[in-house]
Symmetry: D2
Subunit: 426 residues, 4 copies
């Protein structure tokens, strides 16, 4: 069944391969040396199952995608009150490298701009830069489910050229919102931006957020649900700087991009997404990455305000009616994430039955992505020696006129399907 | 079972009754004449079932809560491209009555500020003011599920004192973003702000948005899911003006308030909420209303980034194991909205069984609101002559030490519970 | 002697005739109908003597140049405290048609932007629009020294299309800073902007300000020095909107432009300047007018921070040493305005002497404009049957090597010049 | 005669001694150690004559008053084009320590804010910090007319605590508008701010600007008139940050203040003023200093837009009518600066005559300050054995009803006065 999702991913990635707009980040030589054609897309289901397409093993520096994770670590370590005292949660409507601070408190507007991210670093406990960075790297690694490391060349270059961030750190120090030595905080910040990741790492980190702080790959709880909720909230309102409204309308997933070419996006409760393509638009976002996220959202119906609605009622019931015959009763409005859940469950259980009866009689509405997946379920399971019968009285999954074209066996009632299944099993 | 939810609502409302901060809106005499103690709270489930607490039949003017609905109507009539050409979707970070327009296009930043709301009115087709307003009132009424009407005194006062809105309309005209006669558009806008609603109307209107444009009360589709997604997106990023970030972090429901004292909040796919209490804070939001929304969110776990996560997997299966014995298998993380769904389903089905076995063996995590509801389920159903057995092997719903205090019959395995049920039925 | 100044004016105007950049104001048809080549330049000395070059009799509408004069009238009628309570004096750094108001008081930032100008109109006493406008027109006429009138076509068009100003007036009303009926105030404002003037009228109005409120043509005091000082101060800091700093550095004269193509500039104590050329730059300033002001300032040394310095000590003494021989002792740094004063005095007195001895022995520094005028003095006075001897021991006025080229009779000491004069008169 | 001016100064200073509002600058301990009661006022005439009142020998650090002088030095060294490429001339309307840069060019808005001042330091040529600072200190010293020096304690403290300025310097470096090592530039900037001056030094530095770059004390030309005009222009529009409009209206002198407690003010062509009083208002300006400047301006008529007007024509003629009798013919509107000039001239010449006839018959208008000085002239000169006769036909200087009260001998015509003088001399 994985190949169904895989096909969607490949198709969405393929659509953007021809898109060669944008430029490599050029402010340090290291970022301009990468292969501009590199293009990886990874999707992690909330149970940790990972779909990969393209250059998903290519490493690149995490850059600003580090911001939500260090913010989460600060929340985890200090609690919301202590963090709020130093970093706000309001959008600044300004570019990432503005010193956007509150008029009165002089605290950075939010943790997604550099000023807030540097302040977040300063909140991570540690006797020195190494210790602080150690905690940060451990946290990122726990989210990714593998030991991450720093690209020392990028780190050295960031450090050598970071006058703007140096300015921000000194300004925050002068406002009294940055404790400790600004140069030490900056050193940690430059290291954190230089951590190497792959698109698959990003997808796993996103899935950890999607699961409320539990890494679905390792099963380890990295942080708690309150920390994640707050982090995702800030990603929603501030993650895309001055294009927040458009992103929420068009994509509808908490997300963050980095000038290394990565984008991380989270569909809470459902999915983690990581994309890599290093050519950037004028705002510093991956050109293909943004497009992939827009298409994933619209084609697979991943908008958080949409998925929420339907997802609660997808799998109404799963039960065995007789030995070898299991009924999967789906209901409500069906979209990608729901269909993916149905298929994955059926796939996972496939040792327990010979025939799966997919009862779509209570489906209210279904989109093309979900339709394709339910239809494709048969091909996927027959390959494993199982049969799939579809109960589709109203032709919602397979409309009458398309029955001839698709590989499915359709019944009008569950009883008929179960009867047929019993006979098949004999 | 309804009384369980009812109790939560009453309790959350009761907590705020002592809160007497804030002032009645005073810019027109009519708004200052209302009873300052009026306080109504209504919650509509996504199936249209309504819970009411307090003064839910008191009428007040909708004011700015009209904005998302007229925006939705404009989207419905003209499509997103035509609307986007006149009204943006980016937060303005400014007060509601600023003329916040895009630097280049001179279009209002978003439809939640007055400038954008007036522009939205101008987009509604109609040969004259009466016809335009007719469409708007029909749309609001369809969302509320009853015929709404205008408070003519408030309308007359709004019209007499609306210099600021007049300024905004003339400015937009001078920018070329407002077609037609500004005075006519304003007349419609003043009428729209003066539509009378109750907190229950607001909850129903919210539920219509929660259901993607389908009014769950009337069963009529008012608009389509794309329109609703876009409308809710804009409510998320712009609905609370310059407190967007805090609202998303702390409440996490698309929402809109009005100076008449109302607040509407939407939990996509799940709930519609309407609150009424006319004393306003310095930003023009209902003091108690804001507090009620914060507490509903935190106590009932209604944050959209949280609910999403858990809701997909609440009712894993419902099946009858023997005549009169129905098993409800719940799983995942359980919070208010999920528990409400379980109880409502069990209540609804209660003619079909004698004993309901609630299998909580696959529950990962549960919060206090959900725990209270699952425990209360027995009292609710025994009143209807049914029995409820709880399967709770790990003590997640009823911890060992509390077994003595609560009215529940707890088993370790489903088999034991089913066996007991069979014996009970005899 | 007038021809010397005349020549300078003609030359400065001629230099810009080829400059055809810019566009006629097009927001109302009337402004686009004028001859784009019209170009008039008038300079009024502080004694009312007027130099004219080009189309100085062409009438055009005063537009925003009305702003400082109505502000002055408000100050004159109500005093500074009452005016300050409604209109600030700080630059807004924004375009003329922004509603730039103080964050706290909501009063317009200054009287040179439309908001402040409309507020100024509202302060002029009067039972109705006619009466208010009557006072304004009388004041402008008193400054110009002739009865001015309204261009009724422009007025009608301004009124029909003034949505932006209407917006501003309603906004100010909503802030409580505009008393009375906004439509009536706007009617007066539209009339005031439509008053017809010539470049010579503007020069005379400027000269009235240069003379501290005394019209040098009519000898009538129009307002007092305190009103003028405050008005000129605001012109310095706010008259050129967001180009204030550049204008003060490069031109150094309080000034105001209008979209009718006029510019008024004041050299306090010295000169009033009026320019007309209707093609405007992107900021709405006359293209040629701005250039003429820059060149007048740099070539004639009219910067207020420069003239101040030198002017105090130009004519150290004037005395008759023997019948028919008058000595003019000049000193200090000599620039255009000082030289113009010397020549005009000598011209005025010319019935009192036969030989004027111009003692330049105490001149510290002299620029080309002043040098040209002192040298040209002889030609000018010999035409009237008088002789001029120049005492120039250090060759500051006529350097040694240029003596052959210029028409002047130069001595090293006053004694020698006086002796020669006595012999000439014989 | 000096005592007349002296009396005015003392009186204006005395009026503010009771003013104890404000706080010592506290951001570094050194600034908080000074005597809060220190209060010095110095006025330098344009010929270098100095009037001192109070603690004019107390040294304090120049702080931001250094800004216009380093800007002038940069203009002097590089010319306006090179300086304009790095530093703008537009007001920022913001506090001194904002990083106010042009949206497009990223250059600091003007040289009076820290960003612009640091950029100005970076433009001063020099192989290293010592050499750069050497040029700066030489320039300040040349303006003051004595060798100035650095307060090494203040310098050390500024350097230790200058995080905000460090932030600004790094930001400018990141924008590419600051060449060289930001730490070196800052070192020079901190030294420049720590230069010790007295109020008399400031008055002399101001007088050098008032004289167009010529130090009237030493007679040395420090810079040229173009540099000074541009520097004074920027002081007019930007010297008082966000209170520019009010300062120009109320005081009307290019000025600059420092947190050391000093204020420098320049009346072009006339006067240089230095004030010292270390208690600061919330904007960082000397409380008494600001008040003294306001009163000097209003009581002595020093507004640049006023003085300009009258000053050109004060001393119309000075001539001897017979041995020992010199006539001083004054005319026009007479204010402090003009009267001071008359008295100083008469005082200076007093060896050349026995009787000075002060002909006020052509005075148009006179204010109290000027009246007091002309009347006091007699007492001043009789002390030196000279007599003063006043010709005052219209009673403008000494009104009829006050003749009995004042020490003056008044005539109606010059002839009568001269005749009386001849008889006196006998």
């Amino acid at each position: 069944m994985a190949e169904l999702v895989q096909r969607y991913l490949d198709q969405i990635r393929d659509e953007q391969i021809g898109l060669c707009d944008g430029e490599l980040a050029g402010y340090i030589p290291e970022l301009a040396k990468v292969d501009p054609e590199g293009f990886g897309l990874t999707l992690s289901a909330s149970d940790g199952y990972v779909y990969e397409s393209g250059d998903t093993a290519v490493e690149f520096t995490i850059q600003s995608i580090s911001k939500p994770f260090t913010y989460a670590l600060a929340l985890d370590n200090l609690g919301p009150a202590a963090v709020d005292a130093r970093i706000g949660v309001e959008p600044s409507g300004e570019a990432f490298n503005e010193i956007s601070v509150d008029d009165v408190t002089k605290t950075p507007k939010n943790p997604m701009i550099n000023a807030g991210a540097i302040a977040a670093v300063s909140l991570i406990p540690g006797a020195n830069a190494d210790e602080r960075f150690g905690h940060i790297l451990d946290f990122y690694s726990a989210c990714a489910g593998r030991q991450l490391d720093v690209d020392s060349n990028v780190y050295a270059s960031e450090k050598a050229t970071g006058n703007r961030n140096r300015a921000i750190a000194y300004m925050l120090t002068s406002f009294g919102v940055l404790d400790g030595d600004p140069d030490e905080v900056l050193d940690v910040y430059f290291r954190q931006c230089s951590v190497n990741v792959t698109s698959t790492d990003l997808a796993r980190m996103a899935a950890t957020l999607a699961r409320g702080g539990l890494n679905p790959l390792t099963g380890r709880r990295v942080t708690d649900a309150n920390v994640v909720r707050r982090t995702l909230s800030v990603m929603v309102t501030c993650g895309m700087y001055d294009a927040t409204g458009d992103w929420v309308s068009a994509v509808g997933m908490p997300a963050k991009s980095g000038v290394g070419g990565g984008i991380v996006a989270v569909l809470p409760g459902q999915l983690g997404i990581g994309v890599y393509s290093p050519r950037l638009d004028s705002r510093g976002n991956s050109v293909r990455g943004v497009q992939v996220c827009r298409n994933l959202s619209s084609q697979l119906g991943l908008h958080f305000l949409t998925v929420t609605r339907e997802s609660s009622s997808t799998l109404r019931a799963v039960f065995d009616v007789s030995p070898g015959v299991r009924v999967y009763e789906v209901q409500g409005d069906l979209m990608f994430a729901g269909a993916e859940q149905v298929l994955r469950t059926a796939q996972h259980d496939c040792d327990d039955y010979d025939v799966a009866v997919l009862d779509a009689g209570h489906v209210d509405d279904i989109d093309d992505a979900a339709r394709g997946m339910l239809i494709g379920m048969r091909a996927s399971l027959t390959a494993a020696g199982k049969e799939v019968y579809l109960v589709d009285p109203d032709g919602r999954v397979v409309p009458e006129q398309r029955r001839a074209d698709v590989d499915s066996i359709v019944f009008v009632t569950v009883e008929e399907a179960v009867e047929a299944a019993r006979q098949l099993i004999g």
